[in-house]
C-alpha cells in the first residue's frame, strides 16, 4: 500500500464541494447542501477508510449502460424516450394490464386505492393522494410506471404503452382531454396542479426545551 501523509486521513472528503459543516468536525453545526437541504452532522468521521485509492472499476460506455438507463428527470422530461400513445390506447393497456389491481377507471381495486381525484383536497383534513393531485410533474407517471408497473410484470411495457397509459391516467384525472396523445414534448408540457406544492426541508422546526421540574 502507498504511504500517506497523516493529515490526509482527516481531510474533508467532500473536496471541492461546499460543505458548511465540514469545519465543525462533526456535530454542533447544522450543515446544509448548496441547495439548502439539511445534511445532519458531517465529518470528519471517527472511522475512516485507508486513504489508499486503488482503482478496480471497469470502464464501461454509456451505450452499454443504456438498457438500465431508465430514469427521467421529471421537471424537464430529460430521458423520455421516443414514442407516443393516446388516451384511447391507454385505456386498452389499462384494462388488460392494470385493472386487476387498480380497478375500473383507476378508482381503486384489489391491491391499491384510487388513482383519480383528490385535486384540491390538500387544504382539507382528508388529503387524497393520487398521481393527479400529488405529482408535481407529469413525467413522474411515465418514470414510475415504466420502472415499477405492472407490479406483477414490471419493466415489461413498451415506451408507447407507457405513454398511452400515462395519457389515460392524466385524462381520468381531468388533466388532458380525451383526444390527447402523449409523447416526450406533450407530456412534459402538462401542467400539474401540485406543481408548486413543495417546500424544501426547513427543519429543525420545533423548539422544545429541557424543562426538568414543574413542567406542564
Amino acid at each position: 500500500m502507498r504511504s500517506v501523509k497523516p493529515e490526509l486521513i482527516l481531510a474533508c472528503v467532500a473536496g471541492a464541494l461546499v460543505l458548511a459543516g465540514c469545519a465543525a468536525g462533526g456535530g454542533g453545526m447544522a450543515a446544509k447542501t448548496a441547495s439548502g437541504i439539511p445534511l445532519g452532522m458531517t465529518g470528519p468521521h471517527e472511522v475512516a477508510a485507508l486513504p489508499d485509492r486503488p482503482k478496480f472499476g471497469r470502464p464501461i460506455s454509456e451505450a452499454d449502460i443504456a438498457p438500465w438507463n431508465i430514469d427521467i428527470r421529471t421537471p424537464d422530461g430529460l430521458g423520455l424516450p421516443p414514442g407516443r400513445g393516446s388516451v384511447a390506447e391507454g385505456k386498452t393497456v389499462y384494462d388488460t394490464k392494470c385493472i386487476a389491481c387498480h380497478g375500473a377507471d383507476a378508482k381503486g381495486g384489489a391491491m391499491f386505492g384510487t388513482m383519480v381525484g383528490g385535486i384540491g383536497s390538500f387544504t382539507t383534513n382528508a388529503r387524497v393522494l393520487t398521481p393527479g393531485s400529488m405529482y408535481p410533474y407529469a413525467p413522474i407517471i411515465f418514470d414510475y410506471v415504466r420502472r415499477a408497473m405492472p407490479m406483477d410484470r414490471p419493466q415489461s411495457l413498451s415506451a408507447n404503452e407507457v405513454y398511452a397509459v400515462t395519457a389515460y391516467l392524466l385524462n381520468l384525472n381531468g388533466l388532458v382531454p380525451a383526444g390527447a396523445v402523449m409523447d416526450a414534448a406533450s407530456l412534459t408540457a402538462v401542467k400539474m396542479p401540485n406543481r408548486d406544492g413543495f417546500l424544501i426541508d426547513d427543519r429543525p422546526d420545533s423548539a422544545a426545551t429541557r424543562c426538568m421540574s414543574n413542567c406542564n
Partner: protein, 438 residues
Amino acid sequence: MTSKSSEKTGSQSPGREEGGRRPEARSRRNFLRSSAALAGGGMLAAGTKAAAAPLAIPSIAHETGRPIPESVYGMPSKFEAHVARRRTDVFKNRQNWSDWSMSPLQHQPGIITPNGLIFERHHAGIPDIDPATHRLVIHGMVRQPLEFRMEDLVRYPSVSRFHFHECSGNGLTDWLKPASTTVQQTHGLLSGVLWTGVLASTLFEEAGVDPRGKWALFEGADSAGHARSIPLEKVMDDTIIAYAMNGERLRPENGYPVRAVMPGWEGNVSIKWLRRIKVGDQPWHLRSETARYTDPMPGGKWRQFSMVMEAKSVITNPSGGMDLKGPGFYEITGLAWSGNGKIRAVDVSVDGGKTWREAMLEGPVMDKCLTRFKAPWEWDGKPAVLMSRAVDSMGYVQPTVKDLQKTRAIVGFVQHHNAIQPWTVNAKGEVRNAIGQA
C-alpha cells in the same frame, strides 16, 4: 415484567446487586441524583421469597446434547421463537410486496439488531440476486463511467461503522391516538447495524465527478427499480456502499449483495440491491421524493427532501403490552438516536412529563447510532406515565407531538414522527400506549 398473551420480555434482570444500582452508574453524579429521585428516595423492596421446593434435576442433565454438525448456520433457541419481525397489526395491507415488517425492540438488549430481526421495507418484494452476475454502475456526469462487480467492491479499503437505520414512516400509525400496542408496532421501523463496505466517495473519485455534478440518483435492481436523488454532499461525506452487516454479508431482504447506506437519513434513501448510480446537476423528482416520503404541511403544502432523522428516543422496557409484576424495582431502559450527531443526554419522566431526571447512557455513544439509556425506577404501585426525551449533540431536544403540531399538518400517514412516546402504567401494572393522551 411479563407481557400480554404469549409475548415474553427478554432478559429483565432484577438488578438487585448493590441496591439496584449498576456499579458503573456510581461514577455519574447526575445519574445518582436521578436514581434517588426516580426511586422516590425509598428503600428497595426486600421481598426475597423463600424457594418453594428443592431444585429438580432436569432430564437434560442425563442426556448428551445435540452434537456439533459438520457445518451449520446457528439459529436462536426454539424457546425464543416469539422474537420475530412482524408486519403492522394496525391494518391489513392489500398486498405484501410493497409492505414493511418491524423489529421487536422490546426484546432487544443493547444497541445492535440481529440480522434476522432488522426491519424491512420493500417496494416489490425481495429479489434473490446472484452476486456473481450482479453489476453496479456509476455514470452520468462523470469523467469515466465505471462498472463494478462484487469481487471488485470487496477489494477496496473498507469501513465498518455502527449506525441506526430508521424508516421515515416509523410511528406513522400513532400520532394523535394509540393504534399500536407494542413498541415493536410503534417504533420497530428502527434497527441498529454495523455496516461494512466501501465509502461511496472512493468510487465517485475514481469515476471523476464533473464539477457541475450536484446530485446522484441511486437505483435498485429490484423490480420496483426504487430510486432516490441524493445531494452529492451526502454521498461524499459518509455514504457507504455496503456489502456486509453485523459481521456477515447483507441479508437478501436488506439489499444483498450490495446497497447504499446514508447514515442518519431516512431509510428510504439507502437504496438496496444497488445497481446504478447516475450523477446529475439537479434532482430527478421521482415518485418516491414527491408523492411519497414528503411531509404534509399547513396550507396544503408538502415538505420535500426531509432526509435527516431528528433526535428521538423511546422506552423499550417497560413498554406497551407488558405487565409489571407488582411494585418494586424496575430498570427503565430504551433507545435514543439522532441523525444530527451523538446522543448527549436522555431524560426520563415517570409522572407524564412534570418532572424529569437524566438517565445513564450506556456506552459506547456513537455518531448517528442507537444509544442505550437506563434509569432505575422503584414503582410504588400507583398509576404512572413513563416518557423519555433525547437531547443530541446539536442541543436539539426531542419534541412532543404538540410541539410538532405547531408547524406540521398531522393528516394521513405522516412521516418523520420523532415525538416523545408516553407509556401509561395502571395500578394493575398494565403498560399501555398513550400517544396523544398523556
